[in-house]
């Protein structure tokens, strides 16, 4: 039988009391913290006390009871798997919430349901009103009535103003969301900082043996918060401090890419918007441009980029010390750059290496080495120091980066200084070149990304304007943020203005010639003409014609410019060779046609059309060749091929004095024609009889323009439109011509009293680049110089240019039809464009507002789902970590009983020993 110490049992009772009291304390703490946000239920970790070790002479009959209870510590009850699930769900909630918030704000602008008088809508009602006024104008009693024209105009004004209002509100919304996004970004950065700082405190606590439970609660709460803004992965690792001491280390990465680390123990990163340099001319206090050596000095100001690209900064600790094991792939970027004329405000680098790295970066980026005022000169960046202009002898910090003028040779900067300068002048620079990791579009998820998408995504327009977006994010084409709605509204305003202006205008040949070249050709933002490579030029042959104006010049079906004879220009890039279109509205109106709509000559016979080759291939077998059903069809293609050097000549054949020629083959069995390719002498005019074909031809083609435009016949009623001299039509040089395509419109008919109804500013009639923000009633219409064109009929104007009194109103009817017709609304260029076809009002209510509504509806449903799931997981998680009053009441009773029992044990022992000590006779 083993020994039991007399008072040992007291210890057991004491431990019982002690532990029960601790347990009651923990229960009390749990109850008190029931409403503390993020509080995790704690529990006393208790174990039975075991007297360890075997006695040397222990009897196997000995009874070894344990020594009571021990409190080992206080633990948190938490399920990390539920944390992960909850945070993942919260990322979705955050994203959907932010998106819905943005959509609701858009909705407040663009959703017209139940708005306006009697729910007629706002812009929609303006469209209806405009149409109603046009209908009123179309009544013969009102046609040409200036009062009704004024009513149409004021309705158009209200329509334009509503467009402007919407565009303005969208712009304001974008600004607000931008501000909100930046604020969220700041808050996220603050959260990241707090987590990093808490990590350090927890680490310290743990090193000194503490648990840091409340700190962890606080940290968990911050991580929960972070998960709403960014999709994250939370990883707990153990950090070995040596001597067997290990502390917990928290690592947070983005969920999109585990190698993008936001928090690495005591090191933390910050998120920032990647800055974009844009050159701004320096001005002095008086607002005059700052010049040096006769040249304008430019500042590259740091401005936000439109795409709001985000970057993760270097991982640093609280004191700014870098993480030696920074796992992020960092690169150095120019974040801020400005040119300074003096040392004041310039950046002084502490080490030469640091400055050199920044200077190298500047020298490698065209944005910084290109001299916008002179393409023959470049900027060269060089590390000098404060004392010496050459900067090479004195190596005393701080080191400054100087900007020098050097020669630009073929677009490449050199280190040669520009000739003619007495000295090598330089300017100081202010440079900030941090090391960051750029994040791609899809690398973030959560609220922040949703807001970024709200600010940047343009849906269907992405294909045309932001092909980069699609490369990063294949779904960019279906993500629609504020820019989508802005662009869609712009498209609507633009197409509306274009269609109405076209319907109301009769363009003459000199329309483009009357325009300011600066309107016609591409210029830089200072108004200098630029060549196709973007270099400023004064050579008109290098100018680049803006896309919008290409239609006013003669082009073939494939968009290639033609000369006056209708031949394709050899130099397609020289706008001085382009020939202005001298067609009125469309040729169908102007030239005589037969019943099938084909242009006819003076005898009424249809004119021959050009054959345009779409696709051409040679094939070795006749079977693979393209078959033609009629000889005429095949002949047209053969003639076309034989007349075009592209298909007839080849450098290799030319060496042997040969060329290709094409012939017609007929297969009597299938009754089909096909085309053969022959090699013949370059000088030969026909294929020798019995020549064996070298190949056959696979070809697709279509009918193009009239081959000989001089044979077109102007309809009699339109003849009076053109300038004549001594009864003969003349071209624009005043020489008599029989080619109707060269006839020159009389001044009076250039516009039949119509003209642009809408322009890009109320002060001009400029119809280019009309957007929702700038659409206005044109200056001429506003001042009554233009009006809604009643008719384009030949007798609408007298030859002296005055109005004919006749009240035909076919053009008003046409405009009404335009209002109700389907138009194409393009989201970009031809190849990648995704188009919507519908009326103006359908574009407004179905495409713009409808898309928004559907998106909002879906997002709302998704948010509800995410919220429900998040709620469920929260409850699940709370089931583990939360405090329950019933539970705690039970604990309270339990520990109270345990306490009472331990006390009772004590009194029992006491009574027992009382007997033993005092009641036992000695």
């Amino acid at each position: 039988m083993g020994n039991t110490s007399t008072f040992g049992t007291f210890t057991m009772a004491r431990l019982g009391i002690f532990v029960a009291q601790h347990a009651l304390n923990v229960t009390g703490n749990n109850i008190s913290n029931i409403n503390t946000e993020g509080y995790t239920r704690e529990k006393l970790d208790q174990s039975s006390m075991y007297f360890g070790g075997a006695d040397r002479y222990q009897s196997k009959y000995d009874i070894r009871e344990n020594g009571g209870v021990l409190a080992n510590g206080v633990d948190q009850i938490r399920d990390q798997y539920l944390d992960i699930r909850y945070r993942n769900e919260m990322t979705k909630v955050g994203a959907a919430d932010a998106k819905l918030d943005g959509l609701k704000q858009l909705d407040a602008i663009l959703d017209e349901v139940a708005k306006g008088e009697d729910g007629e809508g706002v812009l929609e009602a303006r469209f209806n009103d405009f149409l109603q006024q046009l209908q009123e104008l179309s009544k013969d009693q009102n046609a040409g009535n200036d009062d009704i024209d004024a009513l149409v105009r004021s309705s158009a004004e209200a329509l334009a103003v509503q467009f402007n209002t919407y565009a303005g509100r969208l712009e304001t919304l974008k600004e607000n969301v931008t501000a909100q996004f930046k604020q969220e970004l700041d808050e996220t950065n603050t959260t990241l900082e707090k987590i990093r700082d808490l990590n350090e405190t927890i680490r310290k606590t743990q090193i000194f043996g503490g648990t840091g439970l409340t700190l962890k609660d606080e940290r968990n709460l911050l991580i929960d918060d972070l998960s709403k803004k960014i999709g994250i992965n939370v990883i707990y690792e153990m950090e070995n401090l040596g001597d067997g001491v290990e502390v917990e280390k928290l690592k947070i990465t983005t969920s999109g890419d585990p190698s993008r680390v936001l928090i690495d123990g005591i090191y933390g990163a910050q998120l920032s918007i990647v800055q974009k340099g844009d050159d701004v001319p320096c001005k002095d206090k008086a607002g005059n441009p700052v010049m040096k050596n006769g040249m304008q000095v430019y500042d590259k100001m740091n401005v936000d980029n439109d795409n709001f690209d985000l970057a993760i900064s270097e991982l640093v600790d609280k004191r700014g010390k870098s993480d030696p094991a920074d796992p992020n792939k960092l690169e150095q970027v120019i974040d801020k750059f400005a040119v300074k004329l003096t040392k004041e405000g310039a950046t002084g680098f502490k080490t030469y290496e640091e400055a050199k790295a920044a200077a190298d970066l500047l020298n490698s980026d065209p944005a910084y080495y290109t001299n916008p005022s002179d393409p023959t000169k470049a900027f060269y960046y060089h590390v000098g120091n404060a004392k010496d202009a050459d900067g090479l002898t004195d190596q005393t910090p701080p080191f400054y980066i100087h900007q020098h003028d050097t020669k630009m040779v073929d677009g490449t900067p050199t280190t040669d200084t520009v000739e003619g300068y007495i000295e090598n002048p330089f300017r100081y620079t202010e440079v900030s070149a941090p090391r960051i990791t750029k994040l791609k579009d899809t690398e973030l998820s959560g609220g922040l990304q949703a807001m970024r998408e709200m600010l940047t995504e343009s849906g269907e327009y992405a294909t045309a304007y932001e092909p980069e977006d699609l490369r990063y994010d294949p779904e960019a084409g279906t993500k629609r943020g504020i820019p989508y709605y802005q662009k869609a509204l712009d498209t609507l305003a633009n197409v509306f203005a274009e269609k109405l202006n076209n319907a109301n205008t009769l363009y003459g040949d000199s329309y483009v010639e009357s325009l300011d070249p600066k309107v016609l050709y591409e210029t830089d933002k200072d108004g200098n003409f630029v060549a196709a490579n973007g270099v400023v030029t004064n050579d008109p042959t290098m100018y680049v014609l803006k896309d919008d104006y290409k239609k006013y010049y003669r082009q073939n079906e494939n968009g290639l410019f033609l000369d006056a004879e209708g031949k394709i220009l050899t130099n397609q890039n020289d706008p001085t060779q382009y020939v202005p279109n001298d067609r009125i509205i469309d040729e169908k109106t102007l030239f005589k046609q037969d019943d099938n709509g084909r242009f006819v000559d003076t005898n009424g016979d249809p004119l021959e059309l050009e054959t345009v080759i779409d696709k051409f291939d040679t094939v070795s077998s006749a079977n693979a060749a393209t078959k033609f059903k009629t000889q005429e069809e095949a002949k047209a293609v053969v003639n076309r091929l034989n007349s075009d050097p592209t298909y007839c000549t080849s450098p290799t054949l030319a060496k042997d004095g040969k060329r290709y020629a094409y012939g017609l083959y007929y297969n009597p069995t299938s009754e089909q024609y096909y085309i053969s390719q022959h090699k013949i002498d370059a000088t030969a005019t026909s294929i020798p009889d019995g020549d064996t074909p070298v190949n056959y031809v696979s070809v697709t083609s279509h009918e193009g323009d009239v081959k000989d435009r001089t044979k077109l016949v102007v309809k009699d009623e339109y003849k009076k439109y053109f300038e004549t001299e001594n009864g003969s039509f003349v071209d624009k040089d005043g020489n008599a011509t029989t080619d109707p395509s060269k006839y020159v419109l009389k001044e009076a008919f250039k516009s039949l009293g119509g003209g642009a109804l809408f322009s890009n500013s109320g002060n001009t009639d400029d119809t280019t680049e009309i957007t929702a923000a700038n659409i206005s009633v044109s200056n001429s219409w506003a001042h009554g110089l233009n009006h809604v064109l009643r008719t384009k009929a030949a007798d609408a104007k007298k030859e002296d240019g005055t109005d004919n009194k006749s009240r035909l109103q076919d053009n008003i009817r046409h405009i009404i039809t335009v209002m109700g017709s389907k138009h194409e609304f393009k989201t970009g260029n031809e190849e990648t464009s995704m188009n919507f076809e519908g009326t103006f009002q359908q574009m407004l209510t179905e495409v713009i507002a409808g898309t928004l509504a559907k998106d909002e509806n879906i997002t709302q449903t998704m948010l509800n789902n995410y919220n429900t799931t998040a709620d469920e997981i929260y409850v699940d998680r709370d089931a583990v970590m939360g405090v329950d009053l019933n539970d705690e009441a039970m604990n309270m009773m339990q520990y109270q009983k345990a306490y009472s029992a331990a006390c009772r044990l004590m009194t029992t022992y006491d009574a027992m020993l009382e007997k033993l000590i005092n009641g036992t006779a000695v």
């Binding site: 959703d111 729910g119 209806n128 209908q135 179309s138 009864g727 076919d810 009817r813 109700g820 509504a853």
Partner: protein, 493 residues
């Protein structure tokens, strides 16, 4: 975990979330009741909202079409009653029908009432013109596409009726092609005076060409010779003097020989002068005397017609061509209005005629135009003839008057028939418009119903839903008061 642990806060969170949902639902149903709308934002029901926009647009368009339709009906009614007054007459004027019956009655028997009738006819002509100048609102009804200007007016001396400045009795000029085919025009490098503006400078206005005196052929020349040089009689007399034995036949033969010789001489000498004269005037393709003859023949015919046209119509042929073309165009003027026929243009941008209603009413089609076609002019002329008849006997002032009166009477008959036909057509059109209006109104009311169905909430349904939401919300509140008080703690002593 075998037994799921529901914590106090978990329960509160659930409760809060559900209470909030209930509250939102209550708010939504209350909004429905207040606004009487099924949806208040597009996002609530995108499909229905989109449908509602389409319906509303159709509703709006139908409204415009009804407005246009009503306008045309009113205009047609004005036109109809004006025409009725002309044909059937009113209290002040006898209708054309009645007048005609009277004329026919009197012309056969006693002519004593002719002068009085003439006066009546003259005043009827005036009243026809004034009726045709009827206005609807500020718009002249019968003015075709030019409702702003008075359509019919007499010229200063009251001899011609003008429609928008053009004489309605203008004779239809012969087509220039009849005199000079296209090939001829190209050959000679000449053009009609009416087309001169449009042709090349090298072309010559035919009216300006001074023609010489080319005989048409030998026979013709003989006649010419007889008229200008010496007649056969004179020649025979002279011939017999020198050749007393000569017979008549010999003299004739000698005369013929002389004419032939002169002709040949003319062809070689004077003929060349003619060719030169025409060439100098810019006529092309005249190289032989035959060319000159052929040209002369055609040009003479045209110039004769030109002068006769000008005498008859008081305007030059060139002006006549232009004015008559104008009359034709004005009679066909169209002003189309959208009255719900599906206004549209084809792929080429050409207006599809049947998709809108032509609201233009031209006085020209009602009264007629061209030589002896216009009813008002005919009536006026007949009136003048009657008026200048002998007041006593009623005899016509001249035989010409008598013949003319009989011609005019026939023409007036034709004119009245045509006007009556137009009158009937007008009535049919007005009937069609009224049916169309009825149809449009039905469509509008159906659209309105559909809009109501799509957008508006049935009050009973809305209130039921709100009551139910209210009930759920109250129940949720009740649960709240229960769970707030319940826990084991409450039972601890």
């Amino acid at each position: 975990m075998s037994t799921f642990r529901i914590t106090t806060n978990g329960m509160f969170r659930n409760y809060r979330s559900n209470l909030n949902k209930n509250n939102k639902r209550l708010n939504d149903t209350m909004t429905s009741v207040q606004t009487q709308r099924k949806f208040n934002t597009y996002a609530e029901d995108p499909a229905q909202a989109s449908k509602a926009w389409r319906l509303r647009r159709s509703f709006w368009n139908t409204g415009n079409q009804i407005d246009n339709n009503t306008y045309v009906i009113s205009k047609y009614e004005s036109a109809y009653s004006a025409m009725a007054a002309i044909v059937d007459g009113d209290t002040e004027h006898p209708g054309l029908d009645g007048l005609l019956a009277t004329i026919e009655g009197v012309s056969d028997t006693s002519g004593s009432a002719r002068v009085a009738l003439g006066r009546d006819l003259l005043s009827t002509a005036e009243s026809i013109v004034s009726m045709m100048n009827t206005k609807y609102g500020d718009d002249f009804v019968f003015a075709g596409a030019d409702g702003a200007n008075i359509p019919f007016a007499w010229n200063d001396d009251g001899t011609k009726l003008l429609y928008r400045g053009v004489d309605v009795s203008l004779g239809k000029p012969e087509d220039f092609n009849k005199f000079f085919s296209k090939a001829d025009r190209e050959k000679y490098g000449i053009s009609s005076p009416a087309l001169a503006d449009f042709d090349a400078a090298t072309q010559k206005d035919i009216s300006d060409i001074k023609l010489g005196t080319i005989p048409l052929d030998e026979e013709g020349y003989a006649q010419y010779y007889a008229e200008h040089e010496q007649s056969l009689e004179d020649f025979t007399a002279d011939y017999k003097q020198t050749n007393p034995d000569a017979t008549e036949d010999e003299a004739k033969t000698a005369y013929k020989n002389k004419v032939d010789a002169a002709y040949n001489n003319f062809v070689t000498t004077k003929g060349n002068e003619e060719i030169q004269k025409l060439t100098d005037q810019g006529v092309k393709g005249i190289t032989t005397f035959d060319d000159a003859k052929a040209f002369y023949q055609k040009a003479k015919a045209f110039q004769n017609y030109e002068s006769s046209y000008s005498v008859k119509n008081g305007v030059s042929y060139a002006a006549g061509v232009k004015d008559y073309k104008k009359l034709e165009e004005m009679s066909k003027e169209e002003t189309y209005l959208d009255i719900g026929l599906g206004l549209k243009e084809d792929d080429k941008g050409n207006f599809v005629t049947g998709s809108a209603f032509n609201s233009a009413v031209s006085g020209l089609t009602f009264l007629g135009y061209g030589e002896d076609k216009n009813l008002a002019v005919l009536v006026k002329e007949l009136g003048s003839i009657f008026y200048r008849a002998d007041p006593e006997s009623g005899d016509y002032a001249s035989d010409e008057d008598r013949e003319r009166a009989s011609v005019l009477l026939d023409k007036i008959h034709d004119g009245i028939r045509s006007a009556q036909g137009q009158h009937v057509q007008l009535s049919a059109d007005a009937k069609y418009l009224k049916t169309n209006l009825k149809q449009l109104e039905t469509v509008k009311s159906e659209l309105n119903e559909q809009i109501m169905d799509t957008e508006s909430m049935d009050p009973a349904e809305a209130i039921t839903e709100m009551t139910w939401a209210q009930y759920c919300y109250n129940a949720a509140l009740r649960i709240g008061t229960n769970i707030l008080s319940q826990s084991l703690i409450d039972y601890l002593q």
